[in-house]
Structure formats: C-alpha cells, structure tokens
C-alpha cells in the first residue's frame, strides 16, 4: 500500500466504507453474501468509486488471496484488444485460489472501439466458467448492446458535496492539516463531484504547508496558466502571427501543455476577448474544426499554428494588409 499517495492510502478496503453510492454498495454486498456474481458494468463519471468498488468487492470475495484472483486492466492503456486478450488468457488459465472464479476488472472499457468490444464479448464468453468481468465506463451508451445485455448495470452518481466534505475533512484531520472553510469550498468547487480530484488537490496543497485555504487551492489549479493563453490570443488578434507562434511554442515546451489543453483553453478564452459576440461564435466554430483536425491529423503543432493564423486573419490588427 502506498502511503505517500493519499488516494491510495485512504482508499476504502471495505464496501461499507465507501461514501455515496449506497444503492450500488447494497447490491454488491448481496453478491458477496451469495458467494456469486454475474458480469458487472460500472457506469459513471470519474472519481465516483468504480475502481474502489471493484477492489473492495474482490477483497470481500477473496480475503487475503484477493490479489491472486484479481486482474486490473485499463482499456485506454493497453494497446489494442490483442494485448487485453493475451493478458486475460494468461490470467484465466489457472484456477482461482480459495474461490470459484477470478475477477477481471477492465477500466475505461468505453475506450475500446466497437470491433474491439465485439472481440471482448467473445473473450468474455470463452471464460464464463472461470472468470467474472467488471467493466467500467463513463457512459454505458458507449458499450455495445451484446456486452450490456450480458452484464448487470450499476450506475455511479457524482458524489455530492457532503460526501466529499466528509472524506476530505477526515483526511485533513489524520494528516494534521488546517483546512479552512473557504479552502474546503474551493476544493469542492474545483472537484465537481470527483473525489479522486478532491483528494489529489488536498495533497497537492499540503505540499506547501499545513494551512490550506482557498487562495492556495486556486493557485495550484491555476497552474495551467490561463493568462498565458489569453496573452497568446491577444497577440494573434493584434495581427502579430510570428510572436503569437513563439508564445504557442513556449506554452507547449516550457509549460508542457498538450495540444488538447491549448485548444480547450483557447476555446474558454475566446469568450474573454474584446471582440463582437458574433465573431466569438465564428471563432468557436473554427476552434472546434481545428480540434477535430488535431484528432484526425498527424501534427498537432501544425494544426495549432494553422488555428492561430485563422485568429490573426480575423483580428484585423495593425499589421494586416
């Protein structure tokens, strides 16, 4: 167990210790009591307890042997369904220790393409006698029907502020932190029902000292530097493409922003530009198009530069001819 990472240190090991998701927890406890379970599909936003529920369920089923009977995979990490299938095959080959079946937890199953999901369905079928699958996803609609129909669906709801407050307060107490009221509110505001984000934020803030207030929390979140992106846009709108491009390169190299980060921030900052609203809408349309092209294209740098050029052309700055 990793003590230095609070998300892991304070991850509940029992279903009963989970906050929120009462309904989910009760149904899962039913499976433990009956010593059997079907394949499960966990659907819900990030940081709502899907992984924790899968881990806790495995612990309650298998006791101290749980690690030998539990395989955790992440569909967005493992390259291609073949890797997933290979690992599953390897794992499923041997008998469960101290239980009737093993559990395979496939996180972010909605990252798999439709074809890969069909392949996964066949794999699930192949090992029904020895394994149970828990698939997790953000949206159940992205999981193909044949898989959905073979799984019991569990919906995880965003955690409410009381739930997150409970956990964050307790961690702060255990770690000897002085979490101010506005500090807590800032964490709740930023976390938006994502408990993992809330805990990571608390620990990031704690790196600076024992007292955690709103200013510190916002300072940490502000690391993404919206003002730099804003500056780049205003240079572009004034018509100086070369300088704007320098800024873009600086953002990506010095601040390590990804193309997606930059586009997302450009989108947000467009509304703060000092231009007519009609033009803002036009620019948002263009940003959306380039966001799409980044995903379709080969070089995000070229796409971002091209996007900047569109801003320069529409800015009508003093350099324009």
């Amino acid at each position: 167990m990793i003590e230095a990472v609070w998300v892991e240190k304070y991850r509940p090991s029992k279903l009963d210790e989970m906050v929120g998701q009462r309904e989910v927890v009760e149904r899962l406890k039913g499976y433990v009591a009956s010593r059997n379970m079907p394949n499960l599909l966990f659907a819900g936003p990030p940081g709502t307890g899907k992984t924790t529920a899968a881990l806790a369920l495995a612990r309650e089923f298998f006791g101290k042997n749980w690690k030998a009977n539990f395989l955790e995979l992440n569909a967005s990490d493992e390259r291609g369904i073949d890797v997933v299938r290979g690992k599953i095959k390897n794992f499923a080959r041997t008998q469960a220790i101290g239980g009737d079946f093993k559990i395979i937890f496939l996180d972010e199953a909605d990252a798999l393409t439709k074809d890969a999901q069909h392949a996964l369905r066949r794999t699930m079928e192949m090992y029904t006698s020895t394994c149970r699958f828990i698939l997790s996803c953000n949206y159940s609609s992205k999981i193909i029907e044949p898989i959905q129909s073979r799984c019991a669906l569990f919906r995880f709801r965003p955690l409410n502020d009381e739930d997150i407050t409970q956990v964050v307060r307790r961690i702060a107490m255990k770690e000897g932190l002085d979490l101010t009221k506005d500090g807590l509110e800032a964490i709740l505001y930023v976390a938006e029902g994502d408990l993992r984000k809330a805990i990571n934020l608390l620990q990031s803030a704690a790196a600076f000292g024992k007292e955690i207030d709103a200013e510190l929390v916002y300072r940490i979140v502000g690391k993404a530097r919206p003002q730099e992106v804003r500056e780049m846009l205003s240079i572009a709108m004034k018509g100086d493409f070369l300088k704007a491009r320098e800024k873009l390169r600086e953002l990506m190299i010095t601040y390590g922003m990804s193309g997606e980060d930059v586009v997302a921030q450009m989108h947000r900052e467009t509304f703060n530009l000092d231009i007519p609203d009609r033009q803002k809408v036009e620019l948002v349309d263009i940003i959306g198009e380039y966001d799409f092209r980044i995903k379709e294209g080969a070089s995000e740098l070229i796409q971002l530069e091209a996007l900047l050029a569109q801003f320069v052309a529409r800015g009508g700055g003093e350099n324009s001819v």
């Binding site: 990490d77 704690a206 070089s299 050029a309």
Partner: protein, 448 residues
C-alpha cells in the same frame, strides 16, 4: 531587398553563362528579324530551371535596345488577355517610333492549359502568325505543348549549366559582393545546384549574405545544409509561384518526404505570406494536408498521399492573392527540435506513469489509468518534490523511483539527489520493519 539572382542577371547575351549554342542560335534569329521577316516569328526557349532561358530573353531585348512586354505565370493567359495585351503590342506598337521595336516575352508557356486558359494557345498561334515583333516563348517542358504549336516556333534548347560555369559565376558574385570565399565552399554549392544556376545563386545568398568571409569552417554548416539547400529550392518553387503545376512539380522533383516539406512550409509560410488573409488560407491548406497525413499514417492508406501533396503545394501556392517579390531567408523548422523534445518528454512521462501503476510487477501501486496519472498524480508529485521533500522521499521510496525519474519530477539535479538519498534511507528502514514482521495496514478513515 534585391535578390542576387536579379542583381546579377546578365545584361547582354555575351554575359549569359553557359549554353553557347543556344545563344548563337538566338543571335542568328535576331539577325533574320533585322533583315526582314524570319522563317519563324517566335522562338521557344526550353530547358530545366535555372539554365538561363529568362536571362537570355531579357539580354536579347537589351542587346537590340528593344523594349519588351512580358507576361508570366501570374497573369491570366486566357485568349482575352493575350489578345488585349500582346495583340495590341504586336499590331499597333507605340506612337514613339524608337519604342516601336518590341520583344514579346511569354514565360511558362507550358503552363497554358485547362479550361480557365481556354483558347489561350489558339490566340497565341494567331498572334505568332501576325506579329511584327519577335516573340520569345519560355517553357520547361515543350513536349507538353501540341506539335502544331511547337512547329510554329524555332525551338532552342537550354541545357543544365555545367559545374565549372556555375562555379565561375559564384566566384564573380563573391568578388563583386566583397566576400572572401574559399573555393571548396563554392564548389559544394555548385555541385549541389545540379546545373541550376538560379538555385546556386540563391543558395550562395542564403549562406553568404551579410558575411565578409565564407570559409571551410562553414563547411560543416554547409554539408549539414545539403538537404536544406535542396529544400530551400522546393520552398521557393512553392511559395513564389502561382502556377498549380509548378507548385506540384516542386514536391515531385524534391527528393524529400512530403512530411518534411510540409514542416518546412509551416515554419516559413509566415516569413513569406505577409498578408494575414493569405497566411490564414495557406495555413488552412497545410492543416488539411496534415489531416490527410494523419489518415495515411493511421490507415496506411497511401492512396491519400496525392491529396496531401496537392493541398500542401498547389493549395499553399494559390492561397496568395499576389506574389511576394524579393528574397526570403528561410529558416530551419524549430518544430523538429520541439518534436524531439516533446517526444522525449512524453515518452519519459508515459514510462513513469506506467511505473506508477506498477502493473508490471503484478502489484498495482496507483489504481488509475495512465492518462489520469499524468493529469493528476504526476503534477502532485512534482509539487511534493519541489515543496515537501520529506513527503516526496516517502513517495519515491514507496513507488521505487529511480534517480532519473526523481529528476524528471523535481526538475533539478541537486534536489533530486537529496530526495533520492533520503528515499534510500526510508526503504532500508521499511525493509528492517518488514524483517521484524511489522507490516503497515491499510488506513481506515473510519477508525480513530
């Protein structure tokens, strides 16, 4: 700024470098005009780029003290335009009898085709039949023109200029620019030009302008730029032309990968296209070309390559509303270095994220996807390293981080070293505790 190509363009036919046979043929043809109507009213100068065709045409006009009218690729060569401009010049001349002597120069004649220029050739044929003035037609590839058209002209071939001649011209330019250049350097440029004097002069300007000396010390730079010199030429041909064919040919003729040319274009586009609207249009085409490139890479569908090439060459060339004259000092794409850096950094971060998951040793450390680890956990660890070395050392110990991984997070060698040493102590202590059978238990938030 004047390009050296313009600055040192020969003034007389005698000064034109290379191709003595072609020059002699031209001189003879002009004599025919002077004696009355020649057999052929038009001459067709053809040959590869930079072999002296355009220079010869202008030198000829100058030698005769003739005025000239020129049309090049940037003009629309439809029947109407040819009739209006060239027609009036050939039939009526000017009122000034001295100025009545005119040479008509038509560049890039092999580019006349297609619906937009429909009738252009027919009008030209008619013109050749009626003209009272010498007509000089210039083409790279005369075989693109119909035979009946070629037969109306006296065809004069220009060949690639040999290296010795190129070298002589380069030396002369250096002398007049007051640049002390070592012969070896000039030889490399000459060899690189492959008989294209224009590109050799452009290359010389790119390397020598603003210098007093060009020495072997620069040779390293030069040989490194072997590829660049070639690509400079490709860039010139795409960015300076308004001809769809010329732009596309520039990519086909270049030995470079389209992907490389694309990145060079992206880097240098804003140096050339100074009108923001031209720039935006051109960048849009580069962006579209990159989308096709992405599709090619992802689907291995090389059939899409032609779209990528057309958009990045012809698309970019035709995105400008007018030509940008003058010499542009193209620069090496920073994007290459950035990619190397970004790739290196991303690979290290990916590897680190995978390590933090710890799945390789069948013992999961952090239960999250690599994406979430990179988004949330690594930034947190970075803050720990920088502001709370004690907690950072514990993390480094538990996550079994190596020195280079700590360095990646801490961003500072000395700090990383200290954290690493402390982490080793913590690890030893934990081992001692484990040996005593003292295990840490999962912390429950609900027990006090």
């Amino acid at each position: 700024m004047k390009t050296w190509v313009e600055k040192y363009r020969p003034r007389t036919l005698k000064e034109v470098a290379g191709n003595p046979k072609a020059i002699a043929a031209l001189v003879a043809w002009v004599k025919e005009w002077k004696l009355g109507k020649p057999k052929k009213r038009a001459v067709l100068l053809y040959g590869p780029p930079g072999s002296g065709k355009t220079s010869a045409a202008y030198a000829l006009a100058r030698d005769l003290n003739y005025d000239y009218i020129e049309l090049n690729a940037s003009d629309w060569r439809t029947r109407d335009v040819i009739n209006r401009i060239v027609g009036s010049a050939s039939r009526f001349g000017t009122l000034d009898p001295e100025r009545e002597k005119k040479v008509i120069i038509l560049d890039e004649v092999d580019g006349i085709h297609g619906r937009a220029e429909y009738g252009g050739l027919a009008a030209l044929k008619k013109l050749i039949g009626q003209s009272r003035h010498p007509i000089i037609l210039i083409a790279n590839d005369p075989w693109k023109l119909p035979a009946d058209f070629r037969n109306l002209t006296l065809m004069v071939e220009f060949k690639r200029i040999n290296q010795r001649t190129v070298l002589r011209v380069l030396k002369e330019i250096c002398r007049r620019e007051g640049i002390e250049a070592e012969e070896k350097v000039l030889k490399i440029i000459a060899a690189n030009s492959n008989g294209d004097l224009r590109s050799a002069i452009n290359d010389l300007q790119a390397l020598a302008e603003g210098r007093r000396k060009l020495s072997l010390a620069d040779v390293e730079l030069l040989t490194m730029r072997d590829v660049e010199i070639k690509i400079f030429d490709t860039l010139v041909r795409i960015l300076k032309t308004e001809s769809i064919d010329r732009a596309r040919e520039a990519v086909f003729d270049s030995g470079e990968e389209p992907d490389t040319i694309l990145k060079w274009l992206a880097e240098n586009l804003p140096l050339e296209y100074r009108d923001p609207e031209d720039l935006a249009r051109a960048y849009n085409y580069l962006s579209r070309a990159d989308v096709f490139h992405g599709r090619i890479l992802r689907r291995q569908d090389w059939g899409l390559l032609s779209y990528m090439v057309d958009l990045m060459s012809a698309g970019v060339a035709l995105a400008k509303k007018r030509k940008y004259p003058g010499y542009t000092r193209y620069q090496y794409p920073k994007i290459f270095a950035m990619y190397a850096q970004l790739r290196g950094e991303r690979q290290s971060l990916d590897a680190l994220a995978e390590k933090l998951q710890g799945r390789k040793d069948a013992h999961t450390k952090i239960h999250a996807s690599k994406r979430i680890i990179k988004e949330q956990f690594i930034p947190m660890l970075v803050l720990l390293m920088k502001h709370n070395p004690e907690m950072a050392a514990l993390a480094a110990s538990e996550l079994e981080l190596e020195l280079k991984e700590i360095k990646l997070l801490a961003g500072d060698e000395k700090l990383a070293g200290e954290i690493y040493k402390q982490a080793e102590e913590i690890t030893k202590e934990r081992m001692r505790r484990l040996a005593r059978g003292d295990r840490t238990k999962q912390v429950s938030l609900w027990e006090f």
